[in-house]
């Protein structure tokens, strides 16, 4: 029922109605101002964003709708945005409907982004056991993404057939590309030393071993000698001032060995990357909000669409503010998807689009100030 009509009919108004009417009149008045005055008034009323002229003056639409803007209250415009979906761990749809439905939810989220991201990164572990039926199901679902896709491999995708099906569906697992002045490198950073041959494991046994996060028989993840050489070569033609963003499934640093939240040759990889002024690593595998900075390299974890991991008992980076203990009674808590806003200076804001929660943004100011500015809110419930 239109409150304005109600007021006119009644002839006088309730407290609620009068309050709303007064606000309405304020906005009506704003609309009738000339543009410059309007900008002045609205800037005062609505914060610095409009005053800085960073938003199109003809609308109040922020740049990114579903993924909230910077917590400092100044949603400055990034150069471009890409989205991510990661760690879906699909089984055949007749075995586990939840994981499939959740990946579909993530695809729906990304498709609803306005404006659309430049591309969508898939962060690895599309399948749970690397079976062809799982990878094909995943490929089929991801085809529904409207924006262009970039695929990255995870250990769950790899160790059943050593990447045979993955290559067939998605091409080579490691590659690089340039986009709007940023150099992107996609690694296969889940290379494990052979532990299966001497134990005479079958393909499935090997995969089941790797599939266990806490299974101590598997080897630690590496980028590996050969791939590090490839990386060096790839970066030869990239100027030192060019912003570098590296996609990796393993974190490219050493957080917690027992869960392979770990890259064994991390120091060597960081040495190669560290020669660049602005380097960001976006990694999967950890299924949680994770933030780190080593030298001039920023590290951001991606959320899973399947389930959240608990935080490691030791080795947590100082910069990480936990995402808050997920509620087991809500299967979608602690998971989701997200996006990365890349700025002209090559640094990024990382947005965690947690389902059934407010999104969390980890800004480049937070990392650059070593945690002094833009600190994300501490969770009410920390990990046990």
């Amino acid at each position: 029922m239109d409150r304005e009509k109600a007021r006119r009919r009644v002839g006088h108004e309730s407290i609620e109605t009068r309050h709303l009417r007064e606000r309405g009149e304020l906005f009506q008045a704003l609309k009738s101002l000339d543009r410059r005055s309007f900008m002045k008034v609205s800037a005062a009323a609505f914060g610095a964003a409009a005053a800085q002229g960073l938003l199109p003056p003809h609308s109040f639409q922020p740049v990114s709708v579903a993924h909230a803007a910077s917590p400092t209250g100044t949603p400055d415009t990034p150069k471009f945005t890409f989205a991510y979906i990661s760690d879906s761990h699909l089984y055949d749809r007749n075995l586990n409907d939840r994981f499939v439905n959740q990946l579909m939810r993530a695809v729906d989220d990304i498709n609803a982004m306005d404006p659309q991201p430049d591309f969508v990164l898939y962060g690895g572990d599309l399948a749970q056991l690397g079976k062809p039926v799982e990878l094909e199901l995943g490929a089929q679902i991801l085809k529904n993404i409207k924006a262009p896709r970039r695929m990255m491999v995870g250990e769950h995708d790899w160790y059943f057939d050593m990447g045979e099906k993955w290559r067939e569906l998605f091409g080579e697992p490691r590659y690089s590309f340039d986009h709007k002045g940023v150099h992107f490198v996609v690694l296969n950073s889940v290379i494990e030393k052979d532990f299966w041959t001497e134990r005479k494991m079958t393909a499935l046994e090997r995969m089941m071993t790797v599939a266990g996060l806490d299974n101590g028989i598997q080897s630690r993840f590496t980028v590996g000698d050969e791939q590090r050489e490839w990386l060096k070569k790839d970066l030869e033609k990239v100027g030192k001032g060019v912003p570098l963003i590296v996609f990796s499934h393993s974190p490219l640093y050493k957080l917690y060995k027992a869960w392979n939240f770990w890259t064994d040759d991390a120091e060597q990889v960081q040495a190669i990357l560290g020669k660049y002024k602005d380097v960001t690593v976006i990694h999967g595998h950890t299924h949680q909000l994770l933030t780190n900075r080593i030298g001039n390299i920023s590290f951001h974890g991606m959320l899973s669409t399947a389930w959240p991991w608990p935080y490691a008992p030791e080795g947590m980076p100082k910069l990480t503010i936990q995402m808050g203990r997920p509620d087991p009674f809500n299967p979608h808590d602690g998971i989701g998807d997200g996006s990365v806003q890349v700025h002209a200076d090559g640094l990024v804001d990382k947005i965690y689009n947690l389902w059934n929660r407010n999104p969390v943004t980890v800004t480049r100011q937070y990392l650059a100030s070593n945690g002094a500015k833009d600190k994300p809110a501490a969770p009410l419930l920390a990990s046990y």
Binding site: M1, S14, I15, R23, F46, A68, Q102, D108
Partner: protein, 399 residues
């Protein structure tokens, strides 16, 4: 039903409860968190509140009282999809039952009133409900009545005023504790108090049907609510919901979202955003308060907009995994319940009606049962059996 008739129906039901007292089985420590400090609810206060509950002079045209939408003969609600106020204006929300409302931590479907005291006053001044311009006008309508003068004096030791009016009605409502159902007798050890179907339904409620996740029941809080707000997808069935949700998000992204939301309130129908308007949390878009399950047999139609006519429709809605939307609560998922299991859950829910409303309950069982035999518009076996997934249809553009 006319107010006098309602009153006479009510009298035998409340014979023993003339003051606000802790209900049997509820911990007194917990009950103290339910009854506010300054309003203990003695006999005079309850009696005053009861009189006010049936008082149509509190409305603009003297036609509407609390008891119009919270009708004693209709399970203390109105059996309408959305409530109807002065001048036959229809609102946006289904009127909840006054029974056991004392146990909620907040009032209204979006929890915008923190207490019964606050809730009681708001419909009075709402232009489309009781239409009074303000609290003073409401008080003025009854202040000269000698019975009210005496009533207020006895209850609060002062002249009639709007705040005490709210207090009195709240105290009366705190005596409307209707927790004596066949299920309660079953819970106390009489296995045959409810049917075998209802017993199976109770097991499902706590098990595979996942109801207990939100409709939590315990001895301290026996009504079946977690006092929280969840998007279960009912609002998503409204055509403009997603557009509205996007506007809400845009309001959030502004520096001063309160103003933007207020503006939204004037320009659009905000009702379907639910709790979001109160908290401005994205997670609350389209979220509504978990309703109690007590006496649910006599509070049709169901949900915040009254869009589900029968309890069978309610179970069908949950069975198919609600309605997929970007803010759907992750606890809502397809349940794969068989027809027999749906019947069992419905039987259990009907067993939660207080004995005093048994006649109404039987009537509803028959009426809803007959209706459910002819139409089950929300039943979707493909979704319920997980052949198709909730977010799958959205991917293929069939929102």
């Amino acid at each position: 039903m006319p107010f006098q008739q309602q009153e006479s129906q009510l009298t035998p039901w409340l014979a023993s409860a003339a003051t606000v007292t802790v209900p049997q089985g509820v911990s007194p420590a917990y009950w103290r968190t339910v009854v506010p400090e300054g309003n203990p609810g003695n006999g005079a206060q309850v009696a005053l509140g009861r009189k006010l509950y049936f008082e149509p002079r509190l409305s603009k045209d003297h036609s509407v009282a609390c008891a119009t939408c919270h009708d004693v003969s209709r399970g203390f609600n109105d059996h309408r999809g959305r409530a109807e106020g002065v001048g036959d204006q229809i609102g946006h929300r289904n009127a909840p039952t006054t029974l056991n409302a004392a146990f909620y931590s907040t009032q209204f479907w979006d929890g915008r009133a923190p207490t019964l005291e606050d809730q009681a006053k708001l419909p009075i001044t709402n232009p489309i409900e009781m239409g009074m311009p303000n609290g003073d006008a409401a008080v003025a309508a009854i202040a000269d009545d000698p019975e009210y003068k005496k009533g207020f004096q006895d209850a609060y030791g002062r002249a009639p005023n709007f705040d005490d009016l709210g207090r009195a009605i709240a105290s009366f409502e705190r005596t409307l504790i209707f927790l004596s159902s066949p299920f309660d007798r079953f819970a106390q050890g009489d296995a045959n108090a409810i049917s075998a179907d209802a017993r199976a339904g109770w097991a499902l409620f706590n098990g595979r049907a996942r109801c207990g996740g939100c409709h939590q029941m315990s001895s301290s809080n026996p009504i079946g609510t977690d006092n929280r707000f969840h998007n279960i997808g009912v609002s998503a069935r409204h055509q403009d919901f997603e557009q509205l949700a996007n506007k809400g998000l845009q309001a959030l992204a502004q520096g001063k979202s309160r103003e933007s939301i207020d503006r939204l309130a004037i320009e659009t129908d905000l009702s379907e955003l639910g709790r979001f308007v109160v908290t401005e949390d994205r997670a609350d878009i389209g979220a509504f308060k978990t309703s109690q399950v007590r006496n649910v047999g006599v509070t049709a139609p169901y949900m915040h907009d009254g869009s589900l006519p029968t309890l069978w429709d309610v179970i069908d809605h949950y069975n198919k995994g609600g309605e997929a939307n970007p803010y759907l609560d992750g606890g809502i998922e397809p349940l794969n319940l068989t027809e027999a299991e749906v019947d069992q859950l419905v039987a259990f829910l009907f067993s939660l009606t207080d004995d005093r409303l048994a006649a109404q309950n039987e009537g509803e069982k028959a009426r809803q049962g007959a209706l459910a035999k002819t139409q089950r518009p929300f039943r979707d076996t493909a979704l319920a059996s997980r052949k198709v997934f909730p977010f799958e249809a959205r991917l293929q553009g069939g929102k």
